[in-house]
């Protein structure tokens, strides 16, 4: 499917009584930050709907997103977030789904490692670097850093005068 067909197809889910995409209107559906364009079709979704939405993307036979080829943690300043990069091996289309968490103290998102096991280590890495916990993850731990490491280094407000040289 082309990006346009994808967005039409997914927008139609709004009419489904069981499933409501939270944002109606095209602009709110596309693009994580209005002024930052993305190379893929980007759908922003609130954390409460994330799991059902991703599950539907995976299980819908027309979409068939069977590969999670990348996962990136993000620090957008006020919010923390995760971007899921999905593609379909058979249908040859790709999409990104981004989710944000307002809570910087104790961010919590549902795990997707039960849908795509590819997320298993990615979620550990994001927990390690951004401090986002994934509910239901089997064996979430600090992956690269020691368990007693303080702070989450890839956050923008992480301070380390000794190790980080600001140029």
């Amino acid at each position: 499917m082309t990006n346009e067909e994808l967005i039409n197809y997914i927008s139609a889910w709004n009419q489904d009584a069981e499933f409501q995409l939270p944002a109606t209107g095209e602009n709110q559906l596309i693009g994580i930050l209005e002024d930052i364009p993305s190379p893929f079709l980007n759908i922003e979704i609130p954390a409460s709907h994330l799991k059902t939405f991703l599950q539907r993307l995976k299980e819908d036979p027309e979409l068939d997103f069977d590969v999670l080829f990348n996962m990136a943690g993000m620090d957008w300043g006020k919010t923390l977030g995760v971007i899921y990069f999905l593609e379909s091996y058979t249908k040859k289309h790709a999409i990104t789904v981004s989710v944000q968490s307002e809570d910087r103290e104790n961010p919590l998102l549902p795990t997707v490692s039960d849908l795509w096991f590819a997320a298993h280590l990615h979620e550990c890495e994001i927990y390690d670097m951004f401090g986002i916990r994934f509910e239901g993850h089997n064996g979430l731990k600090r992956l690269f850093l020691t368990p007693d490491f303080e702070g989450f280094p890839l956050r923008k407000d992480y301070e380390d005068d000794y190790m980080i040289i600001r140029k």
Binding site: S38, F40, K92
Partner: protein, 375 residues
């Protein structure tokens, strides 16, 4: 005659215990530590302990300019350093909408394929060593030396080349480059059948490889495997074919795909890829177009606001470079989707149920480079 197989009770349960494999284990080729949960000699759980060589490259990128980032990517998968460089260079060029000359595209493609052969040669030699055939190491390193010399002549470095820059390559090709590449192709075509005679047909080797470490097709997709690992399970995942970059759209080559999903399939994918790489080199070596080797670019590169993604096929699988730019001279965020990291994810499941000695063989055919996992 005593039936040995049935006289030993197979359902005896022993107490499960833990064993550390690494970080100094010779078969892990670097500082990878796997905590194995064992039942007798059978692996029932694998827990990776990473970070021994974690340098925080993604964080360092946030304080570096786009020209400097290239030099960090060399240190990720140091055996595919040229291809890593290219991924960043392509992402920056895509963001700035710079179209590079044909000469640059062809030079990059040829260097990619030389890098791929060098990486596969090292893998072949070291893999033989892992399962007890020391001679392969000598053979592979003898032939890999020829590539190192070609690289050294043109780029000035043997391993961490940093040859790609945004908008082209650092230097023009050395005049002796085509001649040396031709010599190398001729030499490789002679020695590759020798490799097969030395190792592939060996009965011990076959027993270690055939039917061991099976990765099913649908599992490979779900567990995040890419590159030769996924192609050994019958998946057509080659980025060079799916999203051609540089000069891959103008060369003919066959994507090496095997259906077996076991160690032998992954082995054969890499062996076939070396032949395909030679084919690509052969098609390009006489057709290097004239033109500039660098496109005019500002010294201080600032990308427009946006997210940029570039996928390339390294010797180990798919490398994704994700750059988020807020318009300044440094990126807002860089994420490297490294092939080794995702393949390790698949190993955590593939390794279950096999003996420790099989795990060593499986890890060899997964071909890990640890700095690529840790970044």
């Amino acid at each position: 005659m005593i039936d040995l197989k049935n006289s030993v009770q197979s359902d005896i349960k022993t107490q499960e215990y833990f064993l550390n494999m690494g970080p100094q284990h010779p078969a892990t080729h670097g500082v990878l530590r796997l905590i194995l949960k064992l039942d007798g000699e059978t692996v029932v759980g694998i827990e990776p302990d990473l970070g021994f060589i974690h340098r925080g490259i993604e964080k360092m990128c946030e304080y570096d300019t786009y020209r400097q980032i290239i030099h960090l990517t060399d240190r990720m998968d140091y055996l595919s350093s040229h291809i890593n460089n290219e991924a960043v260079a392509l992402a920056v060029e895509k963001a700035l909408e710079v179209e590079v000359s044909d000469r640059i595209k062809v030079i990059r493609t040829m260097m990619d394929e030389l890098t791929r052969i060098a990486s596969h040669l090292l893998w072949w030699g070291v893999m033989g060593m892992d399962i007890g055939a020391l001679t392969t190491f000598m053979y592979a390193f003898r032939d890999r030396e020829m590539i190192n010399e070609i690289m050294e002549e043109t780029t000035g470095a043997r391993l961490t080349m940093s040859y790609n820059i945004p908008g082209g390559v650092m230097f023009d090709l050395h005049p002796g480059f085509p001649k040396r590449v031709k010599e190398f192709i001729k030499h490789m075509r002679q020695v590759l059948p020798e490799y097969d005679r030395l190792l592939t047909g060996n009965i011990i080797f076959q027993k270690r490889m055939k039917g061991v470490g099976i990765l099913k097709k649908e599992d490979a997709l779900n567990w995040g495997a890419t590159g030769p690992v996924a192609r050994g399970s019958g998946l057509h995942t080659d980025i060079r074919k799916r999203f051609p970059y540089s000069a891959y759209d103008r060369v003919e080559f066959e994507e090496a795909v095997e259906e077996g999903g076991d160690n032998l399939a992954r082995y054969q994918v890499r062996m076939r890829e070396m032949y395909e790489s030679l084919d690509i080199l052969e098609q390009l070596v006489d057709n290097i177009p004239e033109g500039p080797y660098q496109m005019p670019m500002r010294n201080l590169i600032k990308l427009p606001k946006g997210e940029f993604y570039q996928r390339v096929e390294t010797a180990r699988g798919e490398l994704g470079v994700f750059i988020v730019s807020d318009g300044k001279k440094n990126p807002y965020r860089v994420k490297f989707r490294s092939p080794g990291f995702s393949n390790l994810n698949a190993l955590l499941k593939v390794g279950l149920g096999w003996k420790i000695a099989d795990l060593v063989a499986i890890m060899s055919t997964f071909d890990f480079v640890i700095p690529d996992i840790d970044r």
